[in-house]
């Protein structure tokens, strides 16, 4: 059996990267002769969530319930997983902050290795995975010979796809006894993020990016207007936050947010490896840059060669013109 930790949104839907992780699990299961794929969720799943997971080929949805799961505690999530995983050969999750954290707890408790941000696997004997290292600037082939094999799947390593012949997933609710020690480090308060243009950075369909080319903290007016016109979020490179032009929570990159929008519009961003690590999962990239040889331009889907301070106001004006036409 393969067990996948599935993360959910505040409204109880499976996050897309968890759907990708299940898709990855199915390909692994097929390679292993059709072993079943089970999902573990925290909190009782809605019928819609159970139906979605069934559509993705999940055999059983294990729901962790009870007071221990009222707020997040990585050790408690791992303890619950331990209780339901039985003799599974693989325990995995999406490579989100939560996913990496819980899988690290699982691996530490089981005394096995863990691979973070896996992109693919090559064969089962030995089980070798390829994962991102150095912020995506290099790849590592790593042996995962332990049972269970514990790993997380990098965002967009595979495209989420429902199963060809899904069944009906059984829902089993578990209320495990969680040791007090596993509840010491738990979230004691959680506040909604302040509503601003970066609040939905990780889930935005469109992200407008800004780098050193913005020039100053005052140089963001046109970029913010474009962000608003496309109904997106603003993301920035590390240099922008280091210079204090914009807050850190808007940072995209290896040490900031990893985004996966339908369209990323980096303006005046050269595309250093660390930034690329945060935006390479975008489905399409429209780069605006004065340097046609900048890595961000050569790796982009589309590009405009020019100064963002000329190009962005012109785009804004064109959008406004068409809206009033």
């Amino acid at each position: 059996m393969i067990v996948v930790l599935v993360e959910t949104t505040p409204t109880g839907e499976a996050v897309e990267v968890s759907q990708e992780a299940i898709t990855f699990a199915r390909s692994l299961a097929a390679e292993g002769g059709g072993v079943p794929v089970d999902a573990v969720v925290v909190g009782e799943p809605s019928p819609d969530l159970a139906a979605t997971l069934a559509a993705y080929g999940v055999r059983t949805v294990h729901a962790l319930s009870g007071d221990a799961y009222a707020s997040y505690a990585g050790a408690a999530w791992a303890a619950g997983l331990k209780g339901v995983r039985g003799s599974s050969v693989v325990v995995m999750a999406a490579g989100t902050p939560r996913g990496n954290e819980v899988m690290a707890h699982v691996a530490a408790r089981e005394g096995v290795a863990m691979a973070a941000n896996v992109l693919s696997f090559s064969g089962l004997s030995p089980f070798v995975v390829t994962r991102q290292v150095v912020g995506g600037g290099a790849l590592e082939e790593m042996r995962l010979g332990d049972r269970p094999a514990v790993f997380t799947v990098a965002g967009h390593a595979v495209e989420a796809a429902p199963a060809d012949a899904p069944g009906a997933a059984e829902v089993v609710v578990h209320t495990p006894e969680i040791a007090a020690a596993d509840l010491v480090a738990r979230v004691v308060s959680s506040e909604e993020p302040e509503p601003d243009l970066s609040g939905t950075l990780k889930s935005a369909r469109v992200v407008v990016g800004a780098g050193r080319g913005a020039g100053s903290s005052e140089g963001f007016a046109d970029l913010l207007e474009l962000t608003e016109l496309v109904g997106g979020s603003l993301g920035v490179s590390r240099v922008v936050t280091s210079l204090g032009w914009r807050p850190h929570h808007e940072q995209v990159g290896q040490t900031g947010s990893r985004i996966s929008p339908d369209l990323y519009i980096p303006c005046g961003i050269s595309g250093a490896i660390q930034h690329w690590a945060g935006c390479s999962s975008a489905k399409a990239i429209l780069a605006i840059n004065t340097d046609p040889d900048a890595p961000m331009v050569t790796k982009a889907t589309y590009a405009v060669i020019g100064d963002l301070h000329e190009v962005v106001p012109a785009i804004n004006a064109e959008i406004r013109r068409r809206r009033t036409a």
């Binding site: 954290e101 290795a113 070798v128 150095v134 790849l139 790593m142 042996r143 010491v184 480090a185 004691v188």
Partner: protein
């Protein structure tokens, strides 16, 4: 008086191109230079702040070869008061090995701070493994940490908003960049750092290793970028594209 241990790793500064060693087992830093990760810079800053606020100490630790002293001195220059160097080839140590070696030093300290993940290996697990080695609670991936009355308050961004943890000492916390601004070393700070004796230690056991088969570079992808135009004249083509992609409400 909180005794803080902050753990750092000497990593290749890979802001440009990644070059691999000939044996494919590591990243070649001869030309790029070395640094510590951004997360660890913030962990060092937090360690210094907590030590100052509580009248305690901030000890910096690294596991690495002789050259890793450079990163220890950098941490001493910004306010760490002592340094421990576990002399070893970090490339041959896996996350469990590193956690075990930190645990051998951490017993004397109330709070252990680490970066959320190493900038090179990106394992996301040393801090958590360390917590299990020590039998202590661990808070992961937070950007601000403070200590008062024996309780650590740690805060950071969670998937649904700003999250707060409160855990009693002793504890382990892994730090993400962004909550504090690492300070620059002063000239007196650098001079003082040169004189601090480094506590050199040997690993307590043979490493199991990182399970690495080899490193490789991502396959180069030929650029197939579609240039929409130059300067402001490209605006109509851009807006056509935005409409075509369905990201612009008409």
């Amino acid at each position: 008086m909180v005794s803080v241990l902050v753990c750092i790793k000497r990593v290749v500064d890979s802001s440009s191109e990644v070059v691999l060693t000939e044996d494919g087992q590591g990243v070649d830093g001869r030309y790029a230079g070395f640094t510590m990760s951004a997360h660890e810079e913030c962990a060092v800053e937090l360690a210094v702040q907590i030590a100052a606020a509580t009248g305690g100490t901030a000890t910096v630790l690294t596991l690495g070869d002789a050259d890793a002293v450079e990163q220890l001195r950098a941490a001493l220059a910004v306010g760490c008061t002592a340094a421990v160097h576990v002399v070893a080839d970090a490339q041959t140590f896996g996350p469990s090995d590193v956690a075990r070696e930190i645990a051998a030093v951490a017993g004397d300290h109330d709070l252990v701070l680490l970066g959320n993940d190493a900038a090179d290996s990106g394992d996301f697990q040393v801090g958590i493994r360390l917590a299990y080695e020590l039998g202590r609670p661990v808070v992961n991936g937070v950007s601000s940490v403070s200590v008062a009355d024996g309780v650590v308050t740690a805060e950071g961004a969670g998937p649904d908003g700003h999250e707060t943890y409160r855990v009693p000492l002793p504890a382990v916390v892994t730090v993400l960049e962004g909550g504090v601004e690492p300070r620059y070393p002063t000239v007196p700070g650098r001079m003082k750092a040169k004189k601090v004796p480094i506590d050199e230690r040997r690993p307590t056991a043979e490493p199991v290793g990182p399970s690495r088969v080899r490193l490789l570079l991502p396959p180069p992808t030929a650029s197939d970028v579609q240039i929409l135009g130059k300067g402001a004249d490209a605006a109509p083509a851009v807006v056509d594209l935005l409409e075509q992609l369905g990201v612009l409400a008409r």
